[in-house]
C-alpha cells in the first residue's frame, strides 16, 4: 500500500492530559493523521496506566492499550525549570495544547494560557473540565461515574418507578473526548486563518447532556420533568430467548407491527383490538411488551431470526466481545486491528477509520 495521506497530516497536538477524556481525543486525532506528543512525568505517570490484578497475572487498565497507542511519549517534569524549557520547545512547534488539570493548575506550574501564548501566539489551548456549571458544584472532584450520577444520567437509565442504574462505563469522559477532538481541529483551522490561538473548554457534564438530553432536558425545557424511558408504543427492546441469549427487537411502524404480529401470534394477535394502531399500542404498552416477551422466551435465536426476517422485522442478538471481533459489522470495515504488547501480548484495538476516511483517487 502506498503511503496514504491522512486528513490531519500537519497538525501537532501536545497532550498534557491524564486519564481517559484527553487520551480519547488524541487517539482519535492520531488516527486521522495528527502528530500527538503525550507529555508525562515518570514521577507521576498517567493514572490510566494503573496496574490492576487479573486472573492471568497483572496488566494495565484494558482501555490504556487503546488510548495510549500511536503517540509520541515524552517524559517531562513540568515542576522543574528544565521540564518547562523542554515544553516551550515543543509548544513553539505545536498547534494545540490539550489539558484536563484542575482549574488553576497550569498557572501554578507556570505554563498557563498567558505563558503558552507568549511562547507561541498561534497555539490554542483546549481544556477538559468535569463540571462547567458556573456554580459551587464545579469544585467537586469527581470522576466520570460521579458526574454521570450528578447530572441525571443514572436516574434517566432507571426503570420506571425503579432505582437509578449505572452506565457501567466512563461514558462522560469518552464523549467529552469526542468534543475535545472537534475543538482541537477547529482551533487549528481557526488559528491558521486568523494567526491567533484560542482557549476552548469542554465540559464532561455538557457532553453527557448532549448524549442524553432527550431524557434530561434542554436549555428551553430544562425545568420540565422528562419521564424515564417507558415501554414504547411498538415492541422495541431487549427480550430473552430460549437459548439464554438476549435479542434486540424493534418494529418501527404499522407495517412492521402487522408483519410481526402475524409471525408471532397469527391472525388473533394481528386483530387484537388493544394493539390496533400506534396510539393503542402505546396505551397498552405493558401488555404488548409482555406478549412479545412470552413469545421470544419460547424461541431459539435461530427460530426467532428466521421468523422475523420473513416478517421483515429487525432483530440483533446482544453480541459478546468475542463475537464483535469476528462480526462483519466491525471486522470487515477494517476497524479492528491486532497489536502486540511486550507485557500482555496480542490484543485488539479499534481504529477510528470512519468507514475508511481517505482521499478518493
Amino acid at each position: 500500500m502506498a503511503t496514504e495521506s491522512l486528513p490531519l497530516d500537519g497538525l501537532t497536538v501536545i497532550d498534557l492530559s491524564h486519564y481517559l477524556a484527553g487520551s480519547m481525543a488524541t487517539v482519535l486525532l492520531a488516527d486521522l493523521g495528527a502528530r500527538v506528543i503525550k507529555v508525562e512525568s515518570a514521577r507521576r505517570p498517567d493514572g490510566i496506566r494503573r496496574i490492576i490484578p487479573r486472573t492471568q497475572g497483572t496488566m494495565q487498565r484494558p482501555i490504556s492499550y487503546q488510548l495510549l497507542r500511536d503517540k509520541e511519549l515524552i517524559d517531562l517534569d513540568l515542576k522543574s525549570e528544565a521540564g518547562r524549557d523542554a515544553l516551550a520547545v515543543l509548544v513553539r512547534e505545536a498547534h494545540v495544547v490539550l489539558e484536563n488539570f484542575s482549574p488553576g493548575t497550569l498557572e501554578r506550574l507556570g505554563v498557563g494560557l498567558g505563558w503558552l501564548q507568549r511562547t507561541n501566539p498561534a497555539v490554542s489551548l483546549v481544556s477538559i473540565r468535569a463540571l462547567t456549571t458556573g456554580t459551587d458544584l464545579d469544585r467537586v472532584k469527581a470522576g466520570a461515574p460521579s458526574i454521570q450520577a450528578m447530572t441525571g444520567v443514572d436516574d434517566a437509565l432507571g426503570l420506571v418507578d425503579g432505582e437509578p442504574l449505572a452506565l457501567g462505563r466512563p461514558t462522560g469522559d469518552m464523549v467529552a473526548g469526542l468534543n475535545a477532538a472537534a475543538a482541537c481541529i477547529s482551533a487549528w483551522r481557526r488559528a491558521a486563518k486568523q494567526g491567533a490561538g484560542a482557549h476552548l473548554t469542554v465540559g464532561i457534564d455538557r457532553s453527557l447532556w448532549q448524549l442524553f438530553f432527550a431524557a434530561l432536558g434542554d436549555a428551553d425545557a430544562a425545568a420540565a420533568a422528562v419521564p424515564r424511558t417507558a415501554e414504547r408504543g411498538v415492541p422495541s427492546g431487549f427480550y430473552g430467548t430460549a437459548d439464554g441469549i438476549w435479542i434486540a427487537l424493534s418494529c418501527i411502524d404499522d407495517a412492521g407491527w402487522l408483519a410481526f404480529a402475524e409471525a408471532v401470534g397469527g391472525a388473533g394477535l394481528r386483530a387484537d383490538p388493544r394493539f390496533a394502531d400506534g396510539f393503542l399500542r402505546t396505551v397498552n404498552a405493558v401488555a404488548l411488551a409482555q406478549t412479545v416477551a412470552e413469545w421470544c422466551a419460547d424461541q431459539s435465536v435461530d427460530e426467532l431470526r428466521t421468523a422475523l426476517s420473513v416478517a421483515g422485522v429487525s432483530c440483533q442478538p446482544l453480541l459478546a466481545p468475542a463475537e464483535q471481533l469476528t462480526s462483519n459489522l466491525f471486522a470487515s470495515r477494517g476497524s479492528i486491528e491486532w497489536r502486540s504488547d511486550e507485557l500482555v501480548g496480542e490484543h485488539p484495538v479499534v481504529l477510528h477509520r470512519f468507514g475508511r476516511l481517505s482521499s478518493e483517487s
Partner: protein, 382 residues
C-alpha cells in the same frame, strides 16, 4: 473563556462553509449541530408537510405540535430549514444543484431502501467532486438490508447495553437518541478532519455506523478485557466496579447519592466523616465490591444538600445523584455564571422557513423559471 459545547464565538472556524443535511431524528442532525456551532451555515432538507421525524417526537414544550418538540429544538437550533421530498424522482436535479454549491453533505436516509440510490456515494460525488460526504446509519451502508436498521440493533451489536441493567436482569437500552447522537458527535470529528484540507482538496467519504461509533467510544475496553483476561461485561445495577474502581449510587435521606471509593484520600475523608457520626468504618466495601452496610446506613441519614456541603468541605467522594431537572434547576437557582445546559444556540427553524431563500434561485438555475416552485409545492415536491 467559553464553556463548550456549544462551543461559543471563540470556536468559530467554519465561517463560509456550507453544509447540507438530509437527515432525520438524531445522528445526522447531531453531526451538523456541531458544525453549526463552529460557524458553518447548515441547510437542513426536510420532508414536505411532516418534516424531520424528530418534530413528531416528545417531550414537547407546551402542546405537542411540529414546532414544539424539545428533541427537535435541541438538535436543530440555528439551522436553515427547507423542504424537498428526496424520494421523488424530480428532486434529483434540485438536490444535485444544491450539492454543487455545498462543501459538506451529511445524511442518514440512504440506508432506507426507498432513498438509497438517490444519495449514493457515486451520484453525490458526480454532483460535486470536492464534497466531504458523510453517510450515517445504524449498522453501516454495507450491512444486510432485509429489515430496517434501528438504533437498538446498534446497541446490541456494539454490546453497549451489556452493562446497563439490574443484577441478573436483562440488558437495558440507552435512552432514546443517545446512539444516534454518539454517532453524530463522532462523525463530526471525521467531517472536521475532512474539511481541514481546505478548499480544492479532493473528496472525502465517510460511512459511519452507530454500532461502530458505540464500539469505538464505549465498548472497546470490553474487547481488550476479553482477549487479555476472558472477562465478560456484567450488569451490576447502580454499581460500577470496572478495573478495580468501585462506585455506587444508593439511597440517601431524600433521594439518592453517589459514593466513589476510587481515590485513597477520599476514602480516608469518608471514614473520618462517618466516624464523627459514630459509624464503624473498617470496611467501606462489601464482598461483592459494593458499598458496605455501615456506609449505606450512614448515607440514609444524610440529605443531598448535607452531602454536597460535606463533599465541598471535606472531599469525601460522595455527591448527590440528581434527576436531570434537579441538576439544571440547581444551576438555575445558583445564578450560574456559565451558559445553561443546552446543546445548540440560535432560533429553532419552523418547517420550510427558509424555502424562499433557496428554491426560487435553484428553480431558475435548473429549469430557467423561478415560478415553477409554486407547482413543485402543489405537487408535494417542496
Amino acid at each position: 473563556m467559553v464553556a463548550a459545547p456549544p462551543f461559543g464565538d471563540d470556536a468559530r472556524s467554519l465561517d463560509g462553509v456550507l453544509v447540507v443535511e438530509v437527515g432525520e431524528l438524531a445522528s445526522a442532525p447531531a453531526c451538523t449541530m456541531v458544525l453549526q456551532s463552529l460557524g458553518a451555515r447548515v441547510i437542513k432538507v426536510e420532508q414536505p408537510r411532516a418534516g424531520d421525524l424528530a418534530r413528531a417526537t416528545g417531550p414537547f414544550r407546551g402542546f405537542p405540535d411540529q414546532d414544539n418538540s424539545v428533541v427537535f429544538a435541541a438538535l436543530n437550533r440555528g439551522k436553515h430549514s427547507v423542504t424537498l421530498d428526496v424520494s421523488m424522482p424530480s428532486s434529483t436535479p434540485l438536490l444535485g444543484a444544491l450539492l454543487a454549491r455545498a462543501d459538506v453533505l451529511v445524511e442518514n436516509v440512504a440506508h432506507h431502501a426507498s432513498a438509497g440510490t438517490r444519495l449514493d456515494t457515486a451520484w453525490c460525488l458526480e454532483q460535486n467532486p470536492d464534497l466531504v460526504l458523510c453517510h450515517l446509519s445504524p449498522l453501516g451502508l454495507a450491512a444486510d438490508r432485509s429489515g430496517p436498521q434501528t438504533e437498538l440493533q446498534a446497541m446490541a451489536a456494539s454490546g453497549v447495553s451489556a452493562t446497563i441493567g439490574v443484577f441478573g436482569g436483562g440488558p437495558r437500552p440507552l435512552p432514546a437518541f443517545a446512539s444516534g447522537i454518539n454517532a453524530g458527535l463522532y462523525a463530526a470529528v471525521g467531517v472536521l478532519a475532512g474539511l481541514a484540507g481546505g478548499p480544492g482538496s479532493s473528496a472525502q467519504v465517510l460511512d459511519v455506523s452507530e454500532a461502530e461509533a458505540l464500539l469505538a467510544v464505549h465498548t472497546v475496553s470490553d474487547l481488550i478485557d476479553w482477549v487479555l483476561d476472558q472477562r465478560l461485561p456484567e450488569r451490576t445495577g447502580a454499581r460500577q466496579t470496572r478495573d478495580g474502581f468501585s462506585s455506587e449510587t444508593a439511597a440517601c435521606a431524600d433521594g439518592f447519592a453517589h459514593v466513589s471509593l476510587v481515590i485513597d484520600q477520599q476514602r480516608e475523608n469518608l471514614r473520618r466523616a462517618m466516624a464523627t457520626d459514630g459509624y464503624e468504618t473498617d470496611d467501606l466495601q462489601d464482598a461483592e465490591g459494593g458499598i458496605s452496610t455501615p456506609v449505606r446506613e450512614w448515607l440514609i441519614t444524610k440529605t443531598k444538600d448535607t452531602l454536597l456541603s460535606l463533599e465541598l468541605e471535606q472531599d469525601i467522594g460522595v455527591v448527590p445523584a440528581l434527576t436531570g431537572a434537579e441538576f439544571s434547576g440547581w444551576i438555575a437557582a445558583a445564578d450560574a455564571s456559565g451558559p445553561p445546559m443546552g446543546l445548540s444556540v440560535g432560533r429553532v427553524p419552523t418547517l420550510g422557513e427558509h424555502n424562499d431563500e433557496l428554491w426560487p434561485d435553484l428553480f431558475e438555475l435548473v429549469y430557467g423559471d423561478a415560478r415553477l416552485s409554486a407547482a413543485a409545492y402543489e405537487q408535494g415536491l417542496i
